[in-house]
Amino acid sequence: MTAMAPATSTAVQARTKRNGQRYLRPPGALPESEFVSRCIHCGQCGEVCPNRCINYFGFENGLTSLDTPYITPREKACILCMKCGEVCPSGAIQPVRRTIPAITEGVRMGRAQVDKQLCLSYQGKTCGVCYRACPLPDLALRVGMLEQPEVLDACVGCGLCERSCIQMPQAIRIIPAHTQTGEVL
C-alpha cells in the first residue's frame, strides 16, 4: 500500500495539472467526455463566433483535447448567440434556439459563484456590474440590498459576469460544468 501511495498521488497530480486551466466549452456542448468524442476539431464554431471568444487547445489540456474549442470567460465571455451549435456538424455542440427557455434548458457551460470576500457589494461598496452584464437578469443572477449578487439556478455559465467584474481578481467566476459534476476531475 505504501508503494502505491506515491503512484496515486502523481496520478492525481497529473489530473489536477491537466485541469489546472479553468475553461468552458461552447454553449450547447455535450458533457465533457461525450463532447471530446464528438468534436472533429474542424474549427467552425470559432469561425462563426461573432465575439471571437472561442479559442482552441494545443497540448495544454491533454492530447484528447487537442484542437478542441474552449472559452476563457475572464478573457472573453460567450454572448449566447448560439451560432456555434448551428454550425457544428457533428453535434458536439448541440443546436439551441436563441430563446430564454431554450437557453436555460439546453445550455450548461457552468455556474457562476460569488466570492463574498472579494465582491465589492458584499464589502459595502455598491457595485452591481455583474448583474448589469448578465444576459438572463433575475433568472440567473439576482441582486439584493446594496446590489449584492446572488446566483440562481437558471445560470448557464456564459461568463459575462466574470468578464465584467471590476475586481481584480474577479469576485464572481464560472465553475465549469465538467468540473462540477466531478466527471473529469
Partner: protein, 341 residues
C-alpha cells in the same frame, strides 16, 4: 498513316489546368475565409471607430471587395464557411468521410445528421474515385509544388529521397488511427490529416493566436516527401487518402489508355505524382484522377472512360517501335484494310 482515333480525347488534356485552378482557389479560400470571419466580427460589433488602424484597413479592403455582392455582410458571407475537413456550402454541410469514420470510432455511436454531411463526398468518391486528393486537397497543392522543388533541387545536383514503401502502409495507418480514436475517445486522426491540419492552422494563423503544433506536423510531412519518398505522405501514410482509395476502388469514371494510339513514350509514368503505371494500364485504387498523365501525353492516348475496372495489360502501345517491329505483318494487313475502305 494508319493512326486510329477511337474518340477525340484531346479535350481532356486541358483538365489539368482546371485542376490547378481549383487547387489554387481552394487554398485561397482557406486563407480568405478566416479574414471574412474577422471582418464579420467587426461588422457584428458595430465598432468601426474603435478598430486599430490595421484592423480598419482590413475592414475597408474587405468591405470594398464584398460590398457589390452582399447586402448584409454579417450573414451573406456565411454562404461558404469552414474548411476542407468540414464546411458549409450554401447551407449544405459537408464533412470529410474520415471525420465521420473517426467520430464513429471515437464516440462508438452513429450520429445521423453528421453521417449525412459525408453523403455527398462519399457519393462523389464512388463516382470519381480519390479525386479529392488531386483536385481539392489544399495540402496537395503544396505537395505538388514540393515535387517541383524536388526537380529544381535535382537540377542543382541536390539529392532527394526516392525510397519506395508499400502503398498498403496507409491502410494500416488508417486502421491504427481509427483504433487510437476509439481508445482515446477523441477524433485524433484530425491531427495527422493534412487537409484538416491546413484548414485549421490557416484559420488559427489569421483569426486566432497563430499556428499550432499541426503546422509543425505538416512541415514534417513536406520534409518526408522531399527527403524520404516522392509524394510519400499521400502515397504511403495519409489515413484520409487510404479511406478515399478504398471508397474509390470501384469508381465509375477512370483514366484509360488507348493502346492503339499510345507510343510507349513513358511520359505518363514519369509525371504521375503517385508513382503509378499508366503506361501499362495499372491505375488501381490509388489513382486520384488528377489528369496530369493525360495532359502530358503527346499523342492523346489517355482519356476518361465510364468503367468500373481498369483494362489491364493491354500490352505495348501500337505506335511504339517495339510493337511495330513485332507486328509488322499485322499492321500491313491492317493498313490494307483501311486503305480499301
Amino acid at each position: 498513316m494508319t493512326r486510329q482515333t477511337i474518340d477525340s480525347a484531346s479535350g481532356w488534356r486541358h483538365l489539368n489546368k482546371v485542376r490547378w485552378l481549383t487547387l489554387v482557389l481552394v487554398f485561397a479560400l482557406l486563407i480568405i475565409l478566416p479574414f471574412f470571419h474577422v471582418y464579420q466580427t467587426y461588422v457584428a460589433a458595430h465598432a468601426y471607430d474603435l478598430l486599430a488602424p490595421g484592423e480598419r484597413k482590413l475592414y475597408d479592403i474587405i468591405e470594398t471587395l464584398t460590398a457589390p455582392f452582399v447586402d448584409d455582410p454579417s450573414r451573406d458571407l456565411d454562404v461558404i464557411k469552414g474548411n476542407t475537413w468540414s464546411g458549409r456550402l450554401f447551407g449544405v454541410k459537408m464533412s470529410d468521410p474520415l471525420a465521420v469514420a473517426g467520430q464513429m470510432a471515437a464516440g462508438r455511436n452513429v450520429y445521423n445528421p453528421f453521417l449525412l454531411t459525408a453523403l455527398f463526398p462519399v457519393v462523389a468518391t464512388l463516382i470519381f474515385g480519390r479525386f479529392f486528393c488531386g483536385w481539392l486537397c489544399p495540402a496537395n497543392l503544396l505537395y505538388e509544388l514540393n515535387t517541383n522543388l524536388r526537380i529544381l533541387l535535382g537540377r542543382f545536383g541536390v539529392r532527394t529521397g526516392r525510397r519506395c514503401l508499400d502503398p498498403k502502409l496507409k491502410y494500416i495507418v488508417l486502421g491504427v488511427g481509427l483504433l487510437i480514436c476509439g481508445i482515446s475517445g477523441s477524433v485524433l486522426v484530425a491531427a495527422v490529416y493534412p487537409p484538416a491540419i491546413l484548414g485549421r492552422e490557416l484559420y488559427y494563423a489569421v483569426a486566432q493566436r497563430g499556428m499550432g503544433v499541426g503546422a509543425l506536423f505538416f512541415v514534417a510531412t513536406v520534409l518526408f516527401d522531399l527527403l524520404v519518398a516522392r509524394r510519400g505522405f499521400c502515397r504511403y501514410l495519409c489515413p484520409g487518402g487510404a479511406l478515399y482509395s478504398l471508397l474509390g476502388r470501384f469508381r465509375v469514371l477512370r483514366i484509360q489508355r488507348n493502346v492503339v494510339t499510345c507510343n510507349d513514350c513513358t511520359k505518363c509514368n514519369s509525371v504521375c505524382e503517385f508513382g503509378l503505371n499508366p503506361l501499362r494500364d495499372d491505375f488501381g485504387q490509388e489513382c486520384n484522377n488528377c489528369t496530369a498523365c493525360i495532359a502530358v501525353c503527346p499523342v492523346d492516348a489517355l482519356g476518361f472512360r465510364w468503367r468500373i475496372t481498369d483494362t489491364p495489360n493491354q500490352g505495348p502501345g501500337h505506335e511504339s517501335p517495339r510493337y511495330r517491329r513485332d507486328h509488322k505483318d499485322k499492321r500491313q494487313v491492317f493498313g490494307n484494310a483501311n486503305s480499301k475502305a
